[in-house]
Symmetry: C2
Subunit: 398 residues, 2 copies
Amino acid sequence: MHVDEFLFVLAVVLVGAKLFGELAEKLGQPAVVGELLAGVVLGGSVLGVVDPGSEIIHLLAELGVIILLFEIGLETQLKRLMAVGPAAAVVALVGVILPFAAGYFMAHAFGLGMLSALLMGAALTATSVGITARVLSDLGRLDDPEGQIVLGAAVLDDVLGLIILGIVGTLVTGATITAGSIAWSTISAFGFLFLAVFVGSFLVPPLFALLERIGKDHTLAIMGLVLALILALLADRAGSALIIGAFAAGLILAPTKQAHAIESGVVRIGGVFVPIFFVAVGAAVDIRAFLDGSVLLLGVSLTVVAVVGKILAGYAPFWLPVRKLVIGVAMVPRGEVGLIFAQMGLTTGVLTTQDFSAVMMMVLVTTFVAPIALKALLPPGQGTRDAEIGISDLTSDA
Amino acid sequence: MHVDEFLFVLAVVLVGAKLFGELAEKLGQPAVVGELLAGVVLGGSVLGVVDPGSEIIHLLAELGVIILLFEIGLETQLKRLMAVGPAAAVVALVGVILPFAAGYFMAHAFGLGMLSALLMGAALTATSVGITARVLSDLGRLDDPEGQIVLGAAVLDDVLGLIILGIVGTLVTGATITAGSIAWSTISAFGFLFLAVFVGSFLVPPLFALLERIGKDHTLAIMGLVLALILALLADRAGSALIIGAFAAGLILAPTKQAHAIESGVVRIGGVFVPIFFVAVGAAVDIRAFLDGSVLLLGVSLTVVAVVGKILAGYAPFWLPVRKLVIGVAMVPRGEVGLIFAQMGLTTGVLTTQDFSAVMMMVLVTTFVAPIALKALLPPGQGTRDAEIGISDLTSDA
C-alpha cells in the first residue's frame, strides 16, 4: 500500500467512525453501533473504501482490539467485583451458560459443524461491559443495586467470555477437540490469566512507581501499552489469546496509583486504533447476505436466544428484592467480545460470510434494542451521570 | 508481517525509544538524540530488529512525521513570529542561505551530483525548533531577547526548510531541473502553504467550534489529525510535500480555542507514532559506514559548515544589543527537518547509504554539541522553565 492510499483510508476510517459514532449517540445509541455501521458503509459491499483483508488494516485493527481490552482491564477493579458478590456471579454464570448452550444447539440445528457452532455459542456469551456501563451511566442508574449487579456481572462474563475465547481460539487453530485438549485450553487460559495477574501484581506496580518518579506522564501511558503488548505476546505463546494478555495487563495496572495517568493517555491512543477495529469488523459484513433468507433466519434465531438467555439470567439472583427484568435487559447488548469471536471465525474460515453476517446481525440488534428498552423501563434516576469508575471516558472512544 | 512479529517490533521500538530517550535526558540531552540512537542500535547494522524497509514500519513512520509536523504547526503562533520581527527574519534567512550554499558546494566538491548536493545543502538549513525551544526552556531563557529571536528564527527557518523540502521533493521525483520547474516548485510550495492557511483560517475555526459544541474532547484531537491527513494529501497532490500540509493544518488550528484540547490529544497519539519515525531514521544508519574514511570526512565537513553557518547567522541582526554568539549557538541543532531530507534522499536513491550516514553524523553531532555549548555560555536564568507556548510538552514526546 502506498503512503497516499494509507493516509486516505485512515482519514476516511476516522471521519466515518466519528461521524457515525456521534450520529448514533445523538440518536441515543452507543457510539460503537455507529462505528460498526460506518464499517458496513465503507466496506466491500457498499463503498469499497476499506478492505478488511489488507495487511496494514488487519495489523492496526489487531492493535486496536488489544488497546480496547487493555482499556477494559484498566477499568476493571477486581475488588469492586468481589464486593458485588454472589448476585453478580450467578447472573454472569447463568448468562454465559444459557446463551452458549442454546446458541450451540441452535447453530447445530441449522446444520453448522461443531467448531462453527461452538463459535456461535461463544459469540453469544459476553455482555458488552463498555456499552452496558455507558447506558446505565447515561440513565444515572449505575449506583442503583441493579446497576451494581449488572456492572459486576458484565465484567465477570467478559472474563468468562475471554477464557472461552482462549479455548475456542486454540481449537480454531486446528487442535483436535478432546477432553484433554479442552482441559488444557481451560488450564492455559485460566492459568495464564491468574499467573499473569498474580506475578504481575508483585512486579509491575514497583516498576511503574519507579517509572513515574524518573519519567514523564506520557511515558507511563506508553509503557502501559508496552506491558499490554508484551503480555499479549506471552498469552499467545502460552496458547491463550492476545487479548487475554492485554486484559491481564489492564487488570494488573488498574489498582496502581498510575492507572489514571495511563488510562488518560491510552484512551487517546485508542481513539485512533479502536475505531479501526470496529470499522474493519463492520467492513467485513456483506449486507447482501442479510437478504439471504437462511442468514436472516439464523440471525433472528441467534438474536432471540441472545435476548431470552440474558433476560432469564437476570432472574438468577431470585433471593434479592431487585428489579430482575431491568438486570436482564441491561445484560442484553453484546459488543466487543462477540465481535472478536465473529471476526476470528471469519479470518480462520470457521465461519462463512453468511454465518458471520448472522452473528453481526445479532450483535447489531441486541446493541440497538437494549438501550431503548432500558430507557422505557427506567426513568432517569438521581444517580451521578458519571460513573465513579469513569467508564464513560472509555466508551466515548470505543 | 504476522501480528506477533508486528506487536513485538512495536513493543521493542517503543521501549527502546523511551529508554534511550529518558537516558539522553538524564545526560542533559534532548530525548530525540536518544530515540535516534535507539534506532541505530535496533537497526540492521547492530541488532537487526527493526527493518526500516518493511512496509508497515515505513507507513507508520510516515504517519509519525506527519503528526510531528502537525504538532510543530500547532505550536507555531504566526502572530508571535511577527512580533519578534526583523531580527528573527534576518537570522533565519542568513541561517538558511549560508549553510545551504556552503553545503551544496561542499557536497559538489566531494564529487556528488547536483540533486544529491542540493539535498545535502537543504538538510543543513533548518534548525530543530523542538530541540532548540526545549533547551532554551530547560535553561529558563526562552523569555530573554536572545531566546525570543532564536525561537522566531527557528520557526521561520523550519518554514523555509519545508518550502525547500517541497521543491527538492519535487525534483527528487525526477522532474527536470529548469528555471521554470524551480519557479513552479517554489510557487506551488509557497502557494499551497499560503492558500491552505488563508482558506483554512476561514473554514476551519467555525468547523472546529461546531465540533466542540456537538462532539467530545477526544473527537477534537482525532478531527485535528484528520485535517492534517487531508491537507497532507492535498499538499502532495499540489506537488508539495505531505508534511507541508500537516504543518499547515497545525498553523490553521493554532490560534483556535480548541488548539489546546487538540494538542493534548495529538501529543499522546504522537507518543506512539513519532518515536517510530525517529527509530526508523536511526535504523537506516549503517554505523560501519562511519568507519569509512570518506564518509567521516564528508560528515565532519558538513558538521563544520552546519555550525559555522548558523553561528554567522547569529551575527546577522548586527544592530541589536544582544549576545549574538548565544543566538548562533542556539540555532545550531538540526533535527526533524534535516532528518526528513536525509530519509527522503535515501528512499529515493538520491543519497547513497554513505551520503545518508554523513548527514546523520551532522545531525547527531550538532544536536549533541549545541545544548552543551549553550549551557556553558548561559548560566540558568530567572525565566520560567515552562515556555508560555508549552513546547516542552511537544518535545517530551518527540
